[in-house]
């Protein structure tokens, strides 16, 4: 007897966000279905892998990996890690941008005060480039949102594995006049073995609400997989194990609805890119 599959149809869609300009512009989001269920809806844009480098690192290896975006973490501006001033960082970023020619995802150091001092200057220096800047949180979003709004960039809005705060932060940012279609949500990333299932369930809940028409949860997801995986003891014990750990975490996050996955290891990134090509074949 033939088995008839139950198919869900939704009315809502995830926003499509463009990062960068012209031929190098990368689109993420736009889904009308849970990940890779092509019988139920569309995934007009393939999920994107971006390699992450620190602002003081050489980006050569990351660029060679063939990603369409590059993520630069401004680790060196942290008061405990060099406290580099904005103009030096802007110069480094200028070189990286020139070298890679890819749209950038620029992430602060995590020290709110220093980020609020440096990120607006960086944003202004790259005005009109349509980059993605992070990270806005519920307690610190105004400076970054205002500056991204003025300079035409998109923003990463982060919540602590909490769908209610994720929604609230999206409302707070849009209340400032920010286009909801320029927000990317970071639901907080955790690594395989460290509560990844909880992130997965939060993402799924947000997605289903978005498909039912909740505009304040219809943003694509970004996951910082690399930074989490390489903190774990499993990755620190053995590089080979770390690479596999990063692949497993990234693939799980793609299955949870990740649109943009930020990774650290080029070999792991390449494997996940191959995986995306495979699952996107209908």
């Amino acid at each position: 007897m033939p088995v008839e599959f139950v198919k869900e149809k939704y009315n809502g869609a995830i926003n499509t966000i463009e990062i960068g300009n012209g031929a190098k512009c990368v689109k993420i989001g736009g889904e009308t279905t849970l990940p890779f269920l092509f019988e139920e809806g569309a995934m007009p844009n393939q999920p994107v892998i971006a390699l992450e480098v620190l602002d003081t690192e050489s980006p050569d290896q990351a660029i060679a990996c063939g990603g369409r975006l590059l993520c630069v973490r401004l680790a060196s501006i942290h008061p405990d890690n060099g406290n580099r001033p904005a103009d030096e960082v802007i110069a480094s970023l200028g070189l990286i941008f020139k070298k890679c020619g890819l749209p950038l995802i620029i992430v602060g150091c995590g020290d709110a005060e220093k980020d609020n001092e440096v990120l607006p200057k960086v944003s202004q220096a790259f005005k009109g480039e349509n980059f993605l800047f992070g990270i806005a949180t519920q307690n610190n979003y105004k400076t970054l949102a205002a500056t991204c709004l003025a300079d035409g960039h998109s923003i990463v809005a982060e919540s602590p594995i909490d769908i209610n705060i994720a929604k609230q932060l999206n409302i707070l940012i849009t209340d400032m006049g920010f286009d909801p279609a320029r927000i990317v949500m970071h639901p907080t990333t955790t690594s395989l073995g460290y509560g990844m299932e909880y992130v997965y369930s939060i993402m799924e809940r947000g997605r289903l609400a978005a498909f039912l028409g909740d505009k304040m949860l219809s943003m694509p997801f970004v996951l910082f997989v690399g930074q989490e995986v390489w903190k774990t003891k499993e990755a620190k014990d053995s590089i080979a194990q770390g690479v596999n750990w990063e692949i497993a975490t990234a693939v799980s996050m793609l299955q949870a609805g990740g649109d943009l996955i930020i990774m650290r290891d080029p070999a792991a990134a390449k494997s996940v890119m191959k995986y995306i090509e495979m699952v996107m074949k209908k």
């Binding site: 209610n164 609230q168 409302i171 209340d175 909740d214 505009k215």
Partner: protein, 262 residues
């Protein structure tokens, strides 16, 4: 929740006057204000004093559609007046309404089929409004059976248990709430349910409070739409909160704003 705005009704003195004098801007403001406040459908009723209800219906539908694109609930006891509106609507309309009388249902469901409209079915017949849950369910089932004959989808049917004023029929509150719950179990997929909410507070002193309290209780009983005054902000807030508590929307601190940004 489908919110049907009730204010474009010639029964209200100022609206009746606007209809009589063909004052387009008054009607258009009323339409735009209700949609802005959260109405997803607008009820259109020419009122009891209209001298030419067909012409008034035509004028109302045309005027409203110039300023908003929400669906209209064409509200009249006369089928030819409703049809006048059905000819003009740009979006799928709701016919307001039929009761459980055989002849009335035949006329209304024919119209619904011809114009692909949804229908509000009142759980009453020529003997009047029932005073028990069981009788309401019997009449609702009669309406569903007739709708099926006309190949209507059950979820295009809005069953109305008929709300009575709390000061004259206080024993009916619970019967009505239980009817709403039972209506949802009458067929699969479940029919929609609706109420003319303001009737519950007719002739009472604290109308808004009674309206919103009853609305919340009805939503908890499974109500899927209501004919209301959407400009009553506290009523709308209570509705949004009730849906939140029932897990229809994901909580956030600004849940009222979030709902309105939909």
């Amino acid at each position: 929740m489908i919110v049907i705005g009730e204010l474009i009704n010639g029964m209200y003195k100022d609206v009746g006057r606007a209809i009589a004098n063909k004052e387009t801007d008054i009607i258009q403001h009323l339409a735009a204000d209700q949609v802005k406040a959260g109405a997803t459908v607008l009820d259109v009723n020419t009122g009891p004093y209209s001298k030419d209800p067909k012409d008034d219906m035509k004028w109302l539908v045309e005027s409203i559609q110039k300023v908003t694109n929400v669906s209209l609930a064409l509200d009249s006891t006369k089928a030819d007046v409703i049809e006048e509106g059905l000819k003009l609507v740009k979006k799928r309309a709701i016919i307001n309404s039929t009761n459980a009388d055989e002849a009335k249902m035949a006329t209304i469901f024919s119209l619904a089929r011809k114009y692909n409209a949804q229908v509000i079915g009142l759980a009453m017949d020529k003997s009047g409004v029932p005073n028990s849950k069981d009788r309401r369910i019997e009449l609702a089932a009669t309406i569903i059976a007739k709708a099926m004959e006309y190949e209507m989808d059950a979820d295009d049917l809005f069953l109305d248990p008929i709300v009575l004023p709390v000061n004259v029929a206080q024993n009916q509150g619970l019967e009505i709430l239980e009817s709403i719950r039972e209506f949802r179990h009458l067929c699969e997929p479940a029919p929609q349910t609706t109420i003319g909410l303001s009737n519950v507070s007719q002739g009472t002193q604290f109308r808004s409070l009674i309206n919103r309290t009853f609305l919340v209780m009805a939503i908890a009983s499974g109500l899927t739409s209501a004919i209301v005054d959407p400009l009553d902000k506290e009523l709308m807030d209570a509705m949004i909160t009730a849906e939140l508590v029932l897990n229809k929307n994901i909580y956030c601190d600004s849940f009222l704003d979030a709902y309105r940004k939909k």
